[in-house]
């Protein structure tokens, strides 16, 4: 996917001015936030569980090479194939190769963020395959030609009305006078369309929430069950996953599952949780004839060795964006690459570079809500600040900002000069500031005064008043 993160400011502005989007975004606090809070309060050991989950991931990452090799061995033992892909392009080529070898025409997919990251759909379509997304949200954005705006609710930016319009526009074979106003009728229509695709797909592609080293299983959770159809009906099943998805044991996977669903949707557990490994055995009534796992690096090894390594603990629950006041205001598309919100603000620059991704770690008030709710204890604001350090070091911060900061620092480091300057500046500022007509001649920051009245200083600085008070005390 071609990054558009450099246009963050522009696209955020458009998002703020888009009333339909703003209506749709109300679902974020009203849905996700409230549900997570409830789920957490119902499980007294929630915080202890998140700590366990963090330890599991940290441990797995510390011994990533060992667990990956163990995983590969288990997959092979169960009759599956393992492919290592250094980059997204490598992964795409391997996958299209498998599809070609299978003589495939139609490829069915269940929701997977990594395939968004490596732009798999575009690659497969360019290679002549028809690709169909089977998760309802993914299907919606596919027919609209969009990308996900949220990592677990890809179509969270759409209102029901928009969805109904799209269905009427795309599903032209269905009767025009059909009733399509309730969520249930919308889902049923999607089912009807997708069932046909499931049955005819030649290759099924799923992501993975976890890869279990102990058993070689891939674990995937959904609420629609579409991933199960994608991985059992077609003759060939491909699991696409990045290397940090590995956990040592089944027990570990289930521990993390307990915090994943609660953090993501506030459910105790997702509706469908499926462990799969290897192709159909003789005694199996169904299942694919051939299975492949694509293990993708695409920058993970580099991240692991960097000051951003903690971000690899991420389990893509989406809690950080759900609780982010910036995400809640502008939605996911403004971020301009696969991963929006605080996790995107840390991940995106590592993929597209800090020049392209400059705005993402900067457009944060550092309120800390993301870190507070992240079940994997990722210090997102601190990691964003590291990107800011890099940007500043590379001279990407605007000259205006740097000059303002240098001037401020020059005074702040020299308290005498500072107190002298402020004791003159502040009373003048107040005098002029009190007359609205004159105030516009003051060099006030536009980003502030466009929306807010400028604060009127009391008049004399605290240091001055304090000195006066002390002097008064002495005289008494």
């Amino acid at each position: 996917m071609k990054p558009l993160s450099h246009k963050f400011r522009e696209n955020a502005g458009k998002a703020l001015d888009n009333p339909t989007l703003q209506t749709a975004l109300k679902n974020v606090p009203e849905g996700f936030v409230a549900k997570r809070a409830k789920a957490r309060s119902k499980l007294p050991e929630f915080d202890a569980l998140t700590e366990q989950a963090q330890q599991i991931k940290s441990h797995a990452l510390a011994y990533l090479d060992l667990y990956l090799e163990a995983y590969e061995k288990q997959v092979k033992a169960s009759g599956g194939h393992v492919h290592w892909a250094g980059s997204g392009t490598d992964a795409c080529n391997i996958i299209s190769g498998i599809c070609r070898d299978a003589g495939a025409r139609l490829v069915a997919k269940s929701k997977s963020m990594v395939t968004e990251e490596i732009a798999l759909n575009a690659h497969l379509e360019a290679s002549g395959f028809e690709v169909i997304e089977t998760d309802l949200g993914e299907y919606l954005i596919q027919i609209r030609g969009e990308v996900p705006s949220h990592i677990i609710g890809p179509a969270i930016h759409l209102t029901k009305e928009q969805i109904v319009d799209d269905f009427r526009r795309i599903h032209v074979d269905l009767p025009t006078d059909r009733v399509l106003d309730e969520p249930e009728s919308i889902v049923n229509e999607a089912r009807l369309i997708l069932r046909d695709k499931f049955l005819n797909a030649d290759v099924g592609i799923t992501g993975a929430n976890f890869l279990v080293a102990e058993t070689g299983a891939a674990v995937i959770v959904t609420n629609e069950g579409n991933a199960d159809l994608v991985q059992t009906l077609p003759e060939v099943h491909i699991v696409v996953a990045t290397i940090e998805k590995i956990v040592p044991t089944t027990e570990d996977a289930t521990t993390i599952l307990r915090v994943l669903a609660r953090s993501a949707t506030g459910q105790e557990i997702s509706t469908y949780t499926t462990f799969t490994s290897g192709p159909r055995r003789e005694s199996d009534p169904d299942g694919p004839r051939e299975t492949h796992v694509i293990l993708i690096d695409n920058g993970r090894t580099e991240l692991l060795a960097s000051e951003f390594h903690e971000v690899l603990r991420c389990i893509r629950c989406g809690a950080c964006m759900n609780h982010c006041p910036v995400y809640q205001s502008v939605g996911g598309h403004a971020y301009g690459w696969t991963y929006p919100g605080p996790i995107g603000a840390v991940l995106t620059p590592s993929h597209v570079g800090i020049r392209e991704g400059y705005h993402l770690p900067h457009a944060s008030s550092f309120c800390g809500a993301c870190e507070e709710v992240c079940p994997m204890g990722i210090p997102l604001p601190a990691l964003m600040r590291r990107w800011r350090n890099r940007a500043y070091g590379e001279g990407l911060t605007s000259l205006r900002q740097r000059l303002a900061m240098k001037t401020w620092l020059w005074f702040a480091k020299r308290p005498r000069a500072y107190h002298f300057a402020t004791s003159i500046f502040i009373p003048v500022f107040r005098m002029v500031g009190r007359r609205e007509r004159l105030a516009r001649f003051l060099p006030l920051p536009k980003g502030w005064v466009r929306h807010r009245a400028f604060p009127l200083p009391e008049g004399s600085t605290f240091q001055r008043q304090w000195k006066r008070r002390r002097a008064g005390e002495v005289q008494q």
């Binding site: 502005g13 309120c367 480091k413 929306h451 605290f462």
Partner: protein
Amino acid sequence: MLNPAQTKSTASVGLFATCLVDLIRPNVGLSAARLLEDAGCTVDVPSRQSCCGQPAYNMGEADGARELARMTIQSFENYDYVVAPSGSCAGMLKLHYPALFADDPVWSKRAQAFSEKVFELVSFLTDVCNVRSVDAKLDCRATYHDACAGLRELGVRDQPRHLLASVKGLELLELKEPNSCCGFGGTFSVNYGDISNAIVEKKAADILSLDVDLLIGGDVGCLMNIEGKLRRQGQTTQVRHVAEVLAGQAGRISTRRAHNREKPA
């Protein structure tokens, strides 16, 4: 936890006034000093102080932030305690100074020792000085906004509410989302003014839905932001720092709204 009332007759407190209090709202500093003195501390305001360095730190100008940090530590490390009427600046002094010097063996030790003395004003009064109530009066309906850094970095949440409960005449109502960000974020409010505005608009709406006379908070930055929005919207809701209210220095709060409520037309 040390309790000055028990350990020695008077604890010396270096008041870190914060740059915004110094420039915009000196009354907060005077109120803070009064509260600390009432709690039995001797208060000093070293003149060798300006800004905690957070704007530089958050802009990625870590060297500049370190220089200010060194100056602040030198000015304050000889007091028993360092108190700031701001969760954000106290968080900077307490948590981020040690982080800034993580790779410097000498200063890292000094920053760590300094960090242990640093407190946000209200939590210092309750948790260290054992202040349980204040002698103040303010007739109005008010609500309290939890500023992010105080809340999430320092765990300041119940302390101001407890002390505010002892202010005579003050009726304290809870916001729907007291702990959601007001959108200030220092330079964020200027550099991404439109997004910051969308966030503070939600905060203002939450405040207005309560029909209160006064908004109270613990950080002048956030209060400036919220007040700026309310003023621009033509609202009459007043805004005060928690120190001003607790010290009985909040001035007159117009309760026109409350009267209107009591006497429907």
